[in-house]
C-alpha cells in the first residue's frame, strides 16, 4: 500500500520527460533540505480522503480526495490516479486524472494522457500533446518569501504578472 522507493520514481514514471532523478538535477534545481532519493508511492488500491501533507516526493496511483501539500517536493499523479483535491508542491507532474487547483513553486507538467480540470499556477507550465486541460494557467513568478523563488525561471514575465 505505502511503498517507499529509493533513487527516483517507480516503474512507469521514468519515461521521456519524466521528473529528473535526484542524481541529475535540472540546471535550475535547488537543493532541498529534506530527504534525497526517497519517494513514497500510494498504490492503485489506496483510497484516501482528507488532508495529505509530506516532506518527501510522492507518487499517487490511487484515489485521493481533499488537499495535498508537499513543501519543496515533487508530486506525481500517476497514470492510474484519480485525484479530486487542491494540490501544492514544488513540482507537479500529472500523468493520470486530477480534478482541482494545482499550485507549484517550480513547475507543473501535464503529460500525454494526463488530465487536469482546475486552475494551475506555476512559474513554468508544460502541457504535452494529447493532454487534457480545462482551467486557467497563471505562470506568475514565485512570491519572494519562498526560498525556492529567488530565481526567475522560464523567462522574464512582465511586471503585470507579478502579484
Amino acid at each position: 500500500m505505502w511503498k517507499r522507493q529509493e533513487h527516483g520514481l517507480p516503474n512507469g514514471h521514468t519515461g521521456s520527460g519524466s521528473p529528473t532523478p535526484r542524481g541529475t538535477p535540472e540546471p535550475n534545481d535547488r537543493p532541498t533540505p529534506a530527504i534525497h532519493g526517497a519517494t513514497v508511492n500510494i498504490g492503485q488500491s489506496v483510497v484516501m480522503k482528507g488532508e495529505l501533507t509530506g516532506s518527501e516526493d510522492l507518487v499517487i496511483d490511487g484515489q485521493v480526495e481533499g488537499t495535498i501539500t508537499l513543501q519543496n517536493h515533487l508530486l506525481t499523479i500517476g497514470p492510474s490516479a484519480k485525484i479530486k483535491a487542491n494540490m501544492s508542491a514544488k513540482s507537479v507532474v500529472v500523468v493520470g486524472h486530477a480534478h482541482g487547483n494545482i499550485t507549484a513553486t517550480d513547475k507543473i507538467e501535464i503529460r500525454e494522457n494526463g488530465s487536469v480540470d482546475g486552475d494551475i499556477s506555476a512559474p513554468r507550465v508544460t502541457i504535452a500533446e494529447g493532454a487534457h486541460f480545462r482551467g486557467s494557467v497563471d505562470m506568475q513568478t514565485p512570491p519572494p518569501a519562498e526560498p525556492a523563488s529567488q530565481k526567475t525561471r522560464g523567462g522574464n514575465p512582465s511586471p503585470t504578472q507579478r502579484r
Binding site: 480526495e65 502541457i127 494529447g130 493532454a131 486557467s136 494557467v137 514575465p157 503585470t160 504578472q161
Partner: protein
C-alpha cells in the same frame, strides 16, 4: 469503490493527425491588440495546447483560460441518450466570467459545430465578457457539410498556426457568411476578415 463521479466524459486522449502549419494574416492583429494591455486575459475555447499557452505568456504576459468547449460539443454529439433534434442547453464555461473581464477570445472554428440557437447564445455571452478594445478571433466555414473530426489549433508564432485533426462523432458543420457572423456579434465590429482557400473565413472582431 469509487470516490468520484467524473463530470467530464471526454477524457480519452484524441488520436491527433500529422500537423500542418498555416500562416494567418489575421492573427498578428489579435496579438498586437493584447501586447499593450495590462495583465491581459485570453479565453481559449479550444483544447489546451502547450505552445499556445507559452506563446501568450511570453509574448503578451497573458493569463490564459482554457475552456475546451469542443469537448462539451463532442460529449453532446456522442451522447447515446440524446434524441436527435432535441434542444440543447447553452454551452457553459467552467468559470463564470464577469462582464468586461476578458481581453481576447480564441474561438477557432467552434461556431461551425453549433446550431444557430447555441451560436447566438454563446456569441452573446462572449461579447459580454469582452472588455472595451477586447478582440475575438474565429474561423467560420462558408459551406455546410458533415464532418467526423475536430481541429486542434496551436499557436506557433504570431502568424503561424499549427492544425491537427482528431476524430469525433460525425456531425453537421454550419456555414456562415460574413454578414451572418456580424449578426451573431452585434456589439462587435470587424477589424479584419480574410477569405481562406479552405472555404472558410478568418475574422477578427473588436468590442468598441
Amino acid at each position: 469503490m469509487s470516490l468520484f463521479t467524473w463530470s467530464n466524459p471526454t477524457l480519452a486522449t484524441p488520436a491527433l493527425s500529422t500537423a500542418t502549419t498555416i500562416r494567418s494574416k489575421v492573427f498578428p492583429a489579435f496579438v498586437a491588440s493584447l501586447v499593450n494591455r495590462a495583465g491581459p486575459v485570453v479565453l481559449d475555447l479550444g483544447p489546451a495546447v502547450g505552445t499556445t499557452v507559452e506563446f501568450f505568456r511570453e509574448r503578451c504576459a497573458c493569463k490564459v483560460q482554457v475552456e475546451d468547449l469542443f469537448a462539451t460539443v463532442e460529449a453532446r454529439a456522442s451522447d447515446p441518450n440524446r434524441e436527435p433534434g432535441s434542444p440543447l442547453p447553452p454551452l457553459t464555461t467552467r468559470q463564470n466570467y464577469a462582464p468586461r473581464s476578458v481581453d481576447g477570445v480564441l474561438c477557432w472554428d467552434l461556431f461551425d459545430y453549433l446550431n444557430p440557437e447555441l451560436a447566438t447564445q454563446l456569441a452573446g455571452s462572449l461579447s459580454g465578457v469582452l472588455r472595451a478594445g477586447g478582440v475575438l478571433h474565429g474561423r467560420f466555414s462558408t459551406i455546410e457539410h458533415a464532418v467526423d473530426h475536430y481541429t486542434q489549433f496551436g499557436v506557433e508564432d504570431e502568424d503561424l498556426i499549427r492544425c491537427r485533426t482528431y476524430p469525433g462523432t460525425r456531425t453537421h458543420r454550419s456555414a456562415r457568411a460574413g454578414r451572418e457572423v456580424l449578426k451573431l456579434f452585434p456589439r462587435l465590429e470587424v477589424v479584419e476578415l480574410v477569405l481562406l482557400q479552405s472555404q472558410s473565413h478568418e475574422m477578427l472582431l473588436r468590442r468598441p
